[in-house]
Subunit: 416 residues, 2 copies
């Protein structure tokens, strides 16, 4: 059973918007045991929409469409779907009630344009979109028995909520997709080929119904175990056993389970510890703080930080000694040590982290080439430092440094 | 003349990687006067690659493929291209020289696997990829006269460099695409519908060969003028005249020209002014600093900042008075004023910016609902503040706040 994704929108074809919906949908489908065969992005052209819908139905069991559901003149998906399925639009009561509720919650009056949002093809099953005014529509057709077409709004958080709560569960039921249990592990400090050699015997001994996927990111490795079968409880038990078997082999690299990113693990760990954190960033320029505060609830543990981009700010705000900077340079173990100590003390936190390095593209020297980065973690027990030699471009060096800092912090906060 | 993009890679179909290549390529092609008809993402399956290549050639003049060019076993694009064009692989001297140079620059020996990268189909024109080991390949075929297939590496910065320096210019020449001149304007402080009403008479009076596109982003409007014709100098003159005509109508909203983002304009303006900047961020949590330091050379003007997420840090690091926080709350004009003043003085900068607000999803109150944000700019001439009422989710509120801060700073640094 497989799926094609059809993303509609002129804004995608001129490169104004990056198509993040495709990745998110693919992720959700894959984890729910459904394979994505292809992703097609096309413009708001009725003829193209019809043609590609026909093509997608010919190569896959399910077509998930996004976009083109607004009331403005470009948005022709609903009309095209009516033509395609030989149906006509009608005003759906439940959809209208939803539109009314959302418009009222913004303190506005219902307009004729709002009202148009509640019109859907008579032949579809309307799925209510509680987060927005454009309803989701589920189509089945006699021409292609058992095949399904679903039209979703293109607004990312509306699409995501509908996929999670409605579309994925309904697809799993419709196609009787068997039980599936996933487990994500985040690993740090080992590259793909070393890891693959290290865990090969364990991988070969996995039950046949468990599949392992390597999902590398800059400075981070995600492993995903997927178990398929009939009985969820049994699959969960199999997964738990498999994971338990991995710890004796690679436990030192495993930063945590069931998270998409290291900041998620940091948040979870810090909140559980009841302790607080401060940051002192030079080469990461605020990215560590930004990544931590991107997750709601960061104020429970994150006190704040200093972006000490210039040497003067390292001195005035973090108490790095002028002599240290002159003697050892800004990118040195001595400097990062004073930065992290200053951040912890001045910001009154239980833990602090610090970064200083050469992110490039310029600023490198023969002794300290681009990618030379010092990081540090401070706690009541003292300071630990680490020297990184990173490759890549500016953004990747920053990304890898952030992940190295999160991993180092996790190792200090919850020692194995 | 139109183009389809064929992105190849299993990692795209499981949602591990967001397809940013498609957006970047679409952007570059659109600006070079070539229309993108569709984007197809498929897996590393030889059969699919062949089928979709055939399909893309049937609906468009050019097919740009990315991905599948590595030497590992998943990467079957080169073999498939040989089958498709009835050709065979051979070791290309220039490509080998390039691989040798890159491998040597990493201080490594040339391996057999490296060497495989230099093999290309005999029927293609090899285009050297100076940034990576996988060469770019340009195909023309008698079956489809005048049509072109180009295979590019999937690594974003390699693809981007090849597109810019080689592929786009060659396509323009091959298809004799006429002269094209683009002009981007960044506007802040006015919504799409108000702007469209305001500038309608100007837009209607534009020469017929100039097209206007609205490219909205969170808290920012990009306008793109595109002139097409035969004579670049004449087009440039037309564009200059059109832009000059826009300033009397909407000049107060125009933040700058020829930039992709407000941080670019901030960097340009600050460097030109010879002055320095400091930041004090609460609700933006380090994002302002991170966006500024994402651009190389930020150290020329950016001294650093304080992420004052907790009230204690607002007091200790920025000198916000305890009484101010108690009386007016963290989200108040009084607090943002003391934050920005503290940042400017303590970090020793000519200018400072500050943010404090409720980014959500929780933390809102009836008087200060989610989206209530105070921003401030400080200079030698004093402090200006602004109250924002933003909508959207956490990430969008942060994004809109950042853009409002950059716009406010630009207005202060270079008064109209």
């Amino acid at each position: 059973m497989n799926v094609t994704i059809l993303n509609i929108g002129d804004e995608l074809l001129i490169g104004q918007v990056v198509n993040t919906n495709a990745a998110k949908m693919s992720q959700m489908l894959t984890q729910a045991g459904m394979a994505v065969k292809g992703v097609y992005t096309i413009g708001d052209l009725s003829e193209d929409i019809g043609n590609y819908l026909r093509h997608c139905l010919s190569v896959s069991d399910v077509v998930l469409m996004t976009g083109g559901l607004g009331p403005t003149k470009d948005d022709i998906t609903k009309k095209t779907l009516c033509e395609f399925f030989g149906s006509e639009l009608y005003e759906n009561e439940e959809a209208l009630e939803n539109v009314r509720r959302i418009v009222a919650s913004h303190g506005r009056e219902l307009t004729e344009i709002n009202r148009l949002q509640a019109w859907v093809p008579r032949c579809c099953t309307m799925i209510n979109n509680v987060l927005g005014t454009a309803p989701c529509m589920w189509f089945e057709t006699d021409d292609c028995p058992s095949k399904v077409v679903v039209s979703l709004p293109g607004v990312p958080f509306e699409m995501e909520n509908l996929m999670q709560t409605e579309v994925v569960p309904r697809l799993r039921e419709h196609f009787a997709v068997g039980a599936i249990v996933n487990k994500n592990l985040l690993l740090h400090g080992i590259g793909e080929s070393f890891l693959s050699d290290l865990i090969e015997p364990w991988e070969l001994a996995l039950p046949e119904n468990i599949r392992l996927a390597y999902l590398p990111q800059p400075g981070l490795m995600k492993l995903r175990l997927t178990a398929r079968g009939d009985d969820s409880a049994r699959l969960q038990h199999q997964i738990d056993e498999a994971v338990a078997g991995l710890y004796p082999i690679a436990g030192q690299y495993i930063m945590g389970e069931d998270a998409e990113s290291l900041p998620e693990l940091v948040a979870r760990t810090m909140v559980a510890s009841g302790r607080t954190l401060a940051t002192a960033e030079s080469c990461t320029g605020g990215n560590i703080a930004a990544k931590l505060t991107a997750l709601p609830g960061a104020s429970a543990y994150f006190r704040g930080g200093v972006v000490a981009y210039s040497n003067e700010v390292k001195e005035s705000e973090l108490g790095v000694r002028h002599e240290t900077l002159v003697r050892h340079g800004a990118v040195s173990e001595e400097t990062v040590r004073e930065m992290v100590t200053g951040a912890r003390e001045r910001l009154g936190a239980d833990y602090a982290v610090a970064t200083t390095g050469v992110a490039g593209p310029s600023g490198g020297t023969p002794e300290k080439p681009v990618g030379t980065v010092w990081i540090a973690v401070a706690s009541a027990d003292g300071v630990s430092t680490e020297l990184l030699h990173l490759t890549g471009r500016r953004a990747q060096i920053v990304e890898r440094t952030c992940n190295a800092v999160f991993a180092a912090l996790l190792r200090v906060v919850r020692p194995q």
